[in-house]
């Protein structure tokens, strides 16, 4: 009754029912992997909801920040849980984006006409990681403060402009008076608002260009109607995302800043490892060289190579990947709506798995000291293990994955895609076996 009257109210004034009908009747292709991006979307909603609440208790003065977060953790169970949920949501948010991006990559959903959405999505990954980093730096505890110091050193290593950028950001030398006001504004305003805008564009383009699908019918979108079928499914995805995040937040304490203590530039917890999505950068710093180049007397500090150059190259490659792929596959068509199963594109699988493996090696390298301790090995040995594993192990993983995909495709071509051939073996008079087709029921 209320719904009907509200709908009529707006329809009388704006003629909205046509749009509502369009939305409700819209058909979405369905596959389990299409929900991965939704998990990211729902984690973001949870982040905004809990984040708004946290702004009411957080103090951004560097000498008050730690106490305000620590007091929040001590004072009320609700406050403790909300901060836990916020931090866990951030980890899940970035993870869901990465896994979603893997789906897009391995099924070639980024091909024309959807390259722009690939670029938007990749940008959101970068912004989500930055939001996470600025967010967990806000308590100004010993661990995150040291992380900020490392980020400052890496920024200052950039030739010509690095020092200036760092100085502007800090409002002087590290840790300057403007560092925390800047971090806070960027974390609660610039980054989330930009992500929200890009997210709207991302979803708008998805509706406008329509979703890709595995069904080989390029002329039609084949799937489920939004109302009520898909609406229930996406509601289930939303509720399940929240349930999983709250479960993690309830069971696993994350970022226990009270144990780390407030930041001073002369203390740090041991071991010191950042949140998972920043760990590949930290791992790179651990594996990087110790040689300092000098160009006309100007130092290029060793942190420049793994801290600036490596991620820049990696993301430049990812940004241009749709166009590289277009060249490589000689596929100049402008309309691709049917997805390519990974097993039919061994080279794409090879490239993707190589990149993923390299990222995993660098991420693992961020805990090389703990690994060395657990195995009673010198850290230097573990560093060399990862240094060799980074190029060669990644390539080997990529080649193995490509071979596996090729083999899958070959088997499918030989035996058909249904299932293994089932036969019954029957003992014969000679003592051997005869094959007999099983009786069909």
């Amino acid at each position: 009754m209320i719904v009907r009257r509200t709908a009529r109210f707006f329809d009388d004034r704006f003629g909205t029912n046509a749009a509502v009908r369009f939305v409700l009747a819209k058909i979405y292709p369905d596959h389990w992997s299409f929900y991965l991006g939704e998990f990211a979307l729902y984690a973001f909603i949870l982040l905004v909801a809990t984040g708004i609440w946290l702004t009411f208790v957080y103090q951004d003065a560097p000498d008050r920040a730690f106490d305000s977060v620590a007091a929040l953790t001590r004072a009320t169970p609700v406050g403790y849980l909300i901060r836990q949920v916020h931090h866990w949501s951030a980890d899940v948010f970035v993870a869901a984006i990465v896994v979603h991006m893997g789906r897009i990559f391995f099924t070639a959903a980024y091909r024309a006409p959807r390259e722009v959405n690939w670029v938007i999505g990749l940008t959101m990954l970068v912004l989500a990681s930055l939001t996470g980093f600025t967010g967990y730096s806000l308590p100004n505890d010993a661990l995150s403060g040291t992380g900020l110091r490392i980020a400052d050193s890496v920024t200052e290593s950039v030739p010509f402009v690095g020092g200036w950028v760092a100085e502007v950001f800090n409002g002087g030398a590290y840790p300057g008076p403007l560092l925390f006001p800047h971090l806070y504004t960027i974390h609660v305003y610039f980054l989330p608002v930009t992500i929200a805008a890009l997210l709207s564009l991302h979803l708008g383009l998805l509706v406008y260009q329509k979703h890709t699908q595995f069904v080989r019918d390029p002329a039609h979108v084949v799937g489920r109607r939004f109302w009520p079928d898909y609406a229930l499914r996406t509601l289930a995805a939303f509720a399940a995302t929240v349930a999983v995040i709250v479960l993690l937040a309830t069971l696993v304490e994350i970022n226990p800043i009270a144990q780390y203590g407030p930041y001073h530039d002369w203390t740090v917890p041991n071991p010191a490892t950042p949140d998972w999505y920043a760990a590949f950068l930290d791992g790179g710093l651990r594996l990087g060289p110790s040689t300092e180049l000098r160009i006309f007397g100007h130092p290029i500090p060793p942190v420049f190579w793994p801290g600036v150059l490596l991620p820049t190259l990696a993301f430049a490659f990812l940004y241009t990947w749709p166009w590289i792929d277009r060249r490589w596959t000689h596929d100049e068509a402008t309309q691709h709506d049917v997805l390519v199963p990974p097993s039919l594109a061994p080279r794409r699988v090879g490239v993707g798995v190589t990149l993923l493996a390299a990222a995993v090696v660098l991420t693992l390298a961020a805990s090389d000291d703990q690994f060395a301790q657990a195995l009673h090995m010198p850290v230097v040995a573990v560093v060399w293990f990862y240094r060799i594993l980074f190029p060669f192990g990644s390539l080997l993983a990529g080649v193995a994955a490509a071979t596996f995909a090729r083999e899958l495709a070959a088997r499918r071509a030989r035996y058909g895609r249904e299932r293994e051939r089932v036969v019954a073996l029957v003992r014969n008079a000679q003592g051997g076996f005869d094959e007999r087709e099983p009786e069909t029921t």
Binding site: L81, V222, V242, W266
Partner: protein, 249 residues
């Protein structure tokens, strides 16, 4: 069934509110929220499955390619050379350059830190107490600051008593990425950075033995004053912290 699950969700939500009002433990709050959300997920998922709705509905895909032929505009609107000639492009570029102005206004040079360590500056512990050469046990270690400047940025040094006669002090800020070199391994007489595992030999001018640090930790020359307290004989013998592009020596 759906109704029962949703009732469970509502009860869990109410329970969560009551628990929060009673300052119950986070575990209870979390459990109630998890039950509520999981119940909605199950209810929605089960309802979707129960619909037995088809997964092969279709709607036509329209190619979103070029939809508009750019027919030439009438001559009276667009001259042969075009209204927007190159000069407009140059003007636009000039206005874009104008954006550099506020960026330049952001720079703050001349922000050199005052020199904290000088000849005669006493070494004090984090509590602010001055130290005598024999205050540390052999193999002992203490974080020290210039007297009156405890916790001032980039001034921290590690004081180590190597043997009966010798104390050494090095900057505690790693030359790799600026982390505190916080761990001392007494047996091997090495300083170890927990961030990226650089190791420095304290018996050899804090030379980097392994890890990514490019140069030794700056050393603080030590002496004693008339009252017998440890003092610096001057500033660190090298710039503190990691190098930068503009730090030319």
């Amino acid at each position: 069934m759906t109704r029962a699950t949703l009732i469970l969700a509502v009860l869990a939500v109410v329970g969560c509110i009551v628990a929060a009002a009673l300052h119950a433990s986070p575990a209870l709050l979390g459990a109630a929220t998890v039950i509520a959300c999981a119940a909605v997920a199950v209810a929605a998922g089960a309802a979707a499955v129960a619909l037995h709705a088809p997964n092969d509905l279709t709607e036509p895909r329209h190619a979103r390619g070029p939809t508009l032929d750019l027919a030439p505009l009438p001559e009276d609107v667009v001259s042969r050379r075009g209204v927007f000639n190159r000069m407009w492009g140059v003007t636009l570029g000039a206005f874009a350059l104008l954006g550099v102005v506020p960026l330049l206004a952001l720079q703050r040079w001349n922000d050199q830190r005052p020199q904290a360590w000088a000849r005669g500056t006493r070494l004090v512990s984090p509590a602010g107490t001055p130290l005598r050469p024999t205050d540390l046990a052999v193999g002992g270690i203490e974080t020290v600051f210039p007297e009156g400047k405890v916790d001032a940025p980039e001034t921290a040094a590690v004081l180590i008593r190597l043997d009966e006669q010798h104390n050494v002090a090095y900057s505690k800020i790693c030359t790799h990425a600026g982390c505190p070199v916080a761990i001392y391994r007494r047996v091997s007489q090495q300083l170890y950075c927990p961030c990226h595992q650089s190791v420095f030999d304290v018996t050899d001018g804090a030379r980097p033995v392994s890890g990514p640090a490019p140069r030794p930790l700056p050393q603080l020359p030590l002496g004693t004053d008339a009252a017998g307290y440890l003092v610096a004989e001057g500033d660190f013998d090298a710039p503190v912290g990691p190098d930068t592009w503009w730090r030319t020596l």
